[in-house]
């Protein structure tokens, strides 16, 4: 085994309820190296990290850390043995002071009691390394996200970690703060500390990482030096496409008739909210399927949330049906004729223990009720109509949604929104986690809905779904809408190029 390697993981397998999350994954990190770990949603990055930090127990495989076999059964053991993790959602205690958040778990004592004075000094010292001078006695929640992030890093360093894992540390930081973070990372590197850097922002990887490991479907598909790999290769490895691959027909979307597409229904200009959506413009015509493509964290879902009034715009404007559109809450958007099938069916969509009928009627309830009393008969008719129309396989309207397959749950959600008679339907990953057969059914359903005049905004991480399904594709990259392709121009090469480089020509960027 190479002695230069601080960490070496080989042949890692992990299954959850029989479904493989990692298969024969391998990952090595050299001493003093900044190593990027990238991959699509569900590629297995988080699982790999959690196996390493003892959060999950691996089924098979070997882990060597600092020259010794590494066996830990909890994050605290990993931490005690030199691996600190900074999680994506900042895992600190908001009500407690910065000092406590930095020092909890290795408190300084004097005469058996906590020595606050020296703990405050230590916390101040650690934060000053990042040029942060604040009152460490104040509770964490009074500080902005960037400072909280730095506190998490200070905590990791305070534990004299040999390896610091940063899971999307920049997702909530602005440009200047990212700069500070990168300086910290370089400083760590100089001190011989290794860093695993998980991010979806390709530019950042080039700015700070030495090597990259790409994961897909629970496997580590490629490891390369950052200066030897081009962005387009990163993207194609993540998506599992070779650039030259011929285009086949991989979805149930079939050719559409142009005459079904009408006038512009929704138009959005320069939408922005915080870091995740910075400048997004697009428009959708009635009867049109508009696709949003982009890597994870590009701001697709966040843009949809803006359109649906879940989050409030910081900048930019929208028009809908020719009039200014300023939804302040989802009910405004619903009243205007919008529907939103969220990505996370389980937590934001279905109510598992309620029946098919109840789930389908949830959004329609206010319209259907007469002075608070629900018209049972009208409800029954609507539900049965959609069960037939969408081909929902269930024993009847009273079956619990929990008992249905993923595809049929998705159809119930579609039914929920279609019952509202919407003009624009936003579908966030409409076929994720659905078996192949049901996937095709949902796709043809989307097409036939568009044929009937419904405008559809479809967000999908599956390239072929947007390429074959959408009449126009908007590519988002780091919160900016960088490119728009019509059906003819939307090829895998074009889309991946835009995801990797934005709208800059491929050649120019590759030479940097």
């Amino acid at each position: 085994m190479d002695t230069d390697n601080l960490l070496s993981m080989t042949g890692i397998d992990k299954r959850f309820a029989g479904i493989p999350a990692l298969s024969a994954a391998a990952f090595t990190v050299a001493r003093g190296e900044v190593h990027a770990l990238i991959g699509q949603n569900g590629a297995g990055k988080s699982t790999l990290i959690k196996v390493l930090t003892g959060y999950h127990k691996r089924d098979t495989g070997d882990v060597t850390f600092d020259g010794k076999p590494f066996e830990v059964s909890s994050p605290q053991q990993a931490q005690a043995n030199g691996i600190s993790t900074i999680y994506q959602e900042i895992n600190l205690v908001p009500y407690r002071s910065l000092t406590e958040n930095i020092c909890l778990g290795r408190e300084k004592r004097r005469f058996g009691l906590l020595d606050w004075a020296s703990m405050h000094r230590e916390a101040e010292g650690l934060l000053q390394r990042f040029n942060i001078r604040v009152d460490v006695r104040r509770p964490l929640m009074e500080f902005n996200t960037a400072t909280q992030q730095m506190v998490a890093i200070a905590r990791a360093i305070g534990f004299s970690a040999k390896l610091v894992i940063m899971d999307e540390p920049t997702s909530s930081l602005d440009e200047r703060e990212v700069g500070v973070l990168f300086n910290v990372i370089r400083q760590l590197k100089q001190e011989g500390v290794s860093v695993v850097f998980v991010s979806h922002k390709l530019d950042e990887l080039y700015a700070v990482c030495d090597r990259v490991t790409i994961m897909r479907d629970g496997k580590t598909v490629k490891t390369a030096r950052m200066d030897k790999i081009e962005k387009i290769d990163l993207v194609s490895s993540m998506l599992g496409r070779s650039i030259e691959k011929a285009e086949g027909h991989a979805t149930a979307f079939t050719a559409r008739d142009e005459k079904n597409i009408g006038k512009i229904l929704l138009s959005a200009d320069n939408l922005a909210v915080g870091q995740i959506v910075q400048d997004v413009s697009f428009n959708i015509r009635s009867g049109e399927i508009a696709g949003f493509a982009g890597l994870l964290g590009a701001g697709r879902t966040e843009t949809a949330r803006l359109v649906f009034g879940i989050d409030r715009l910081k900048a930019g404007a929208m028009t809908y049906g020719g009039k200014t559109f300023e939804p302040r809450r989802p009910s405004d958007a619903i009243a205007a004729g919008l529907g939103f099938c969220t990505e996370d069916r389980k937590s934001e969509g279905i109510v598992p223990d309620m029946s098919v009928a109840e789930n389908m009627m949830l959004a329609l309830m206010p319209k259907l009720a007469k002075s608070g009393v629900i018209d049972e008969k009208a409800q029954r008719e609507i539900v049965e109509h959609f069960i037939r129309k969408l081909g929902i396989k269930c024993s009847g309207p009273d079956q619990k949604v929990r008992e249905l397959s993923g595809g049929n749950q998705q159809k119930v959600l579609l039914g929920r929104w279609l019952a509202m008679n919407p003009r624009l339907l936003i579908l966030d990953e409409p076929t994720r986690g659905i078996d192949v057969g049901a996937k095709g059914e949902i796709q043809s359903l989307i097409k036939s809905l568009a044929d009937q005049g419904l405008a559809v905004l479809m967000i999908s991480s599956e390239l072929e779904e947007v390429i074959e399904g959408a009449d126009r594709v908007f590519v988002l990259r780091d919160g900016i809408s960088v490119a728009e392709f019509d059906r003819a121009a939307a090829t895998e090469d074009a889309l991946m190029g835009a995801m990797a480089h934005g709208n800059a020509p491929v050649v120019e960027e590759a030479q940097i």
């Binding site: 895992n91 205690v93 009691l113 905590r155």
Partner: protein, 325 residues
Amino acid sequence: MTRTRFLSLLGSYGVVVALLLLILFGWLRYDYFLGFFNITSVLRYNSMFALVALGMCFVIMTGGIDLSVGSTAALGSVVAALFSPQGTWIGLGAGVGAGLCVGLVNAMLVTRLRIMPFIATLATMLAASGTALLLADNQSVSVSYDSGFTTIGQENFLGFPIPAWIALAAYIAGWVVLNFTSTGRGVLAVGGNEDATRMMGLPVGRIKFLVYLASGGLAGLAGVILASQFGAGQPIEGVGWELFAIAAVVVGGTLLTGGVGSVGATLAGVLLLGILFNVLNFENGKGWISLSAYWQSVIRGLFLLIVVILQAKLSSRGNAAARDH
């Protein structure tokens, strides 16, 4: 800045301000309010609640709840009374031990079996109450007067009631544990964000285990004082004590969701509720109006609500002002 500081201080010490105002009111309005006899009897009686509230404070700071404290105190008083003929210390140890047993069961249920604290302690509340009634044969159990057991509840030390000294010692210990031990800081961390605390490598299970155990032990101690003070183990006492304790903790500014809390403010909360009761008694004694026990309940409820609302207002104003800077 000064106004911000003032508001946030008022928010965190609102209970102290309310307490001082109430004492001022009582002093101006009633002749013997600040008399030695009244002060010692208020302290003697409320020290039991103070002990129960201290345990409750720690449990609530972890984000949990302990509904069993009232029954545990009743059980503690019965067990202490039964053992009191063997001597003061044995009676005391038996009562506290009974409380620790209930606390141990709570701790096991919550940390090992992962039953929600509300349900787990509701079950032990019923079980402890039943056990107390069984042991006492459904009546008060007279303590032994020969063994000196009644000293604990009835005598004074340096002019102040012994129960008040016990409570004071417990609060000082609680304050030190909370502020100057890693377990104490862990209590607040667990309540503030349990997942994060686990990720930080703190022994979450052990911390929660300890608070339920301590709460049981303190309730047992309160039971010992109860038996000693009234000369009998009282199997049917303790009803509603858990609510009094929760009220005192909340009035003291401890968040019911956990993560924020103070031992000192909890003590102030206990005194506030106890003295309010005392003031109502004095008011009845003046003969202007006659408040029935029911009306007293209503007034205490309203007062509690007012203090909590005021505190919420003050602390949110303080926070809002702090954010502007």
